[in-house]
Symmetry: C2
């Protein structure tokens, strides 16, 4: 196949892969039931626990992040279980849909797209219905560029009510602080193609002691995503099904880089580049979707498309004329926002290029950038 | 990470990746919702249909082959459905387990490990119980090195009884003939890391019209592996969840190579190398597990470990002393056989090296090779 030209890929995942990680992934294939793989899996599992800031059990799955979310649901719940799902975007909705698909009785606690979920509302729901067994929440809502107040939510769900807390951390982990043990999150699922700087194809999930207790009685059917199988094979340094070995090579290097840099520095780097992005956008006369900048995401920025501007045309011209790949809106925000991803391997000059390109393209679609 | 030395990797998957495919996979990341990906997914889907010899719908999943098997079950069956599962090895058992995990009422038709499943016995079962809705069968049983008579099975299941036929083609497709339409197979699942010569992480599944009819009333819960979602997104040139993009780059090239070589030539190449393997083994005074060589697999050869020989020690020394990576036995064959994979990118000299190495190592574990 023809070589694909490098773009300024600013979608909120997949994110660009650093050259040394691409190189690591080119290592020759190995036996996934042999000693080299055992060493690799054990190493990345321990490194992942450091990035998750947890001593919980943790498994590597060969799937997208959605697979990890499905795993968190089907391994801890039974059909008919009452579940509270707090959602304010497409990924909160997806998490809700998974629980419903497997027969949970889901109370959908809907918040405005562009706002955060509210811990006080979650408290009210849990107070009203003591039968609720678990709460589902998205840490960072990729579709709206909002980071939800997970610490507050966890303090209500775990500290006050001691319910099971299932977290979608796909676009937050390894980018913004998520101390899994510190916040007492029971199941936390994330994926490879965002903060971890490797291609899509792997997902990671941690499970607490309370999660294991729920697992023991959970009757939702499961096979590919059965975490008991993952545990049993991990004890032999293996995965139950053939894993994405090449991606694991990349992951091993990526985790070494993240831990070498220091998680605090990784978080600070994401905060700085996000602030730079938001400032750039405002300087262009554009408006953030986030109603309050304090909860604007440090991994993806959602920007309102100005009145009378064709958002699809704008995103298309950014790609074809300026080689900058942005994301449009999802679901009910289609055509109303565009999004700039700034997680994983991203530099200040990547963002400067985006701003320069927006400045050139916006007038061509009828908006006068400042 | 340190560079992994290249081995003579003769496990029955993952198989070695040709250099040009490794190179293709190093292409930069792209937006999985953009035009480049649309073009890539549409192209590989059409190429895959040619390799499957089908005009059926076909989907690319990000999972191991087990995920495709789960997809074939949960998209076509309902809890309580009667299913006949013909099994003669670890992978036939796994397919059976999947159907049971999701609540099918499974009749397990067990054949000896090392023999084939028998179409006549399947006929008897279908005659005895007209309530059986579907038959599960493994085309090539990787754990025993046996290719089952799928054409005969299909002729009974489809031709005589018109039941749903679900096929595990993980270690057969792209290596030995499997004309999906010619044999009228309803759901056929396979994976990337064997005949397709790319790393593990992708699975492929085709579904017939009868499969779609079953899908319309199937109530097993599903989300990640929901083929209706796959269909809906494929119509936009996308996958529902973020796909393993890098593996798809490799797949595109691999499919071009397979179709360029011609499927008949690919099959003939596998037959020749398999015959060479079996001859070599017999010349060393070793015995095949296959009770009848006519159904010995052309993708993996299972060899009995001679009496009083420590099989694990033998396989270990082959790796540490001769750089040849074999597979041991699985399940009830652990310690009783070893296996040589010869599918995908494998040359005659790879097999010659294996034979030379066996000749050197066997005496060290107490067996006098001829």
């Amino acid at each position: 196949m023809q070589r694909i030209p490098t773009q300024n890929l600013r979608t909120p995942g997949p994110t660009p892969i650093p050259d040394d990680i691409v190189e690591a992934m080119s290592n020759p294939m190995i036996n996934h039931r042999g000693p080299e793989f055992l060493e690799l899996l054990n190493r990345v599992t321990e490194q992942l626990k450091q990035v998750f800031m947890t001593t919980n059990d943790l498994y590597v799955l060969t799937s997208s992040g959605t697979g990890a979310l499905e795993a968190s649901v089907v391994n801890t719940l039974s059909p008919g279980d009452k579940v509270l799902s707090a959602t304010a975007g497409a990924f909160g909705d997806r998490f809700t849909d998974i629980a419903e698909a497997y027969g949970a009785e889901v109370q959908r606690l809907q918040f405005e797209w562009g706002a955060t979920v509210d811990a006080e509302d979650i408290r009210k729901c849990l107070r009203q219905d003591p039968q609720i067994k678990a709460v589902l929440v998205t840490h960072n809502e990729t579709s709206t560029g909002i980071t939800h107040p997970l610490a507050d939510v966890a303090s209500v769900v775990k500290g006050e009510f001691d319910k099971l807390l299932l977290v979608d951390a796909v676009s937050s982990l390894a980018c913004v602080p998520l101390p899994v043990d510190g916040w007492n999150c029971d199941l936390v699922g994330t994926a490879s193609q965002k903060g971890f700087m490797i291609p899509p194809g792997l997902a990671f999930i941690s499970i607490s002691e309370a999660g294991h207790e729920a697992q023991a009685s959970a009757t939702m059917p499961r096979f590919y995503f059965d975490l008991a199988e993952a545990q049993s094979y991990l004890e032999r340094g293996q995965t139950p099904w053939t894993p994405a070995v090449s991606a694991l090579y990349g992951l091993s290097l990526a985790l070494g880089k993240l831990l070498g840099e220091g998680l605090e520095n990784v978080y600070e780097r994401h905060t700085k580049i996000a602030q730079m992005t938001r400032e750039g956008i405002k300087n262009l006369g554009l408006e953030l979707l986030a109603q309050d900048e304090t909860y604007a995401s440090d991994t993806v920025t959602a920007i309102k498309i100005p009145e009378n501007i064709d958002g699809a045309k704008f995103v298309g011209m950014m790609r074809t004329e300026e080689n900058v790949v942005l994301a449009g809106g999802q679901g009910k925000l289609t055509g109303r926002i565009f999004r700039i991803g700034h997680m994983g391997a991203v530099t200040a000059s990547n963002i400067e290029e985006v701003m320069e390109a927006i400045k050139l393209v916006l007038p061509k679609v009828g908006f006068s950038a400042r």
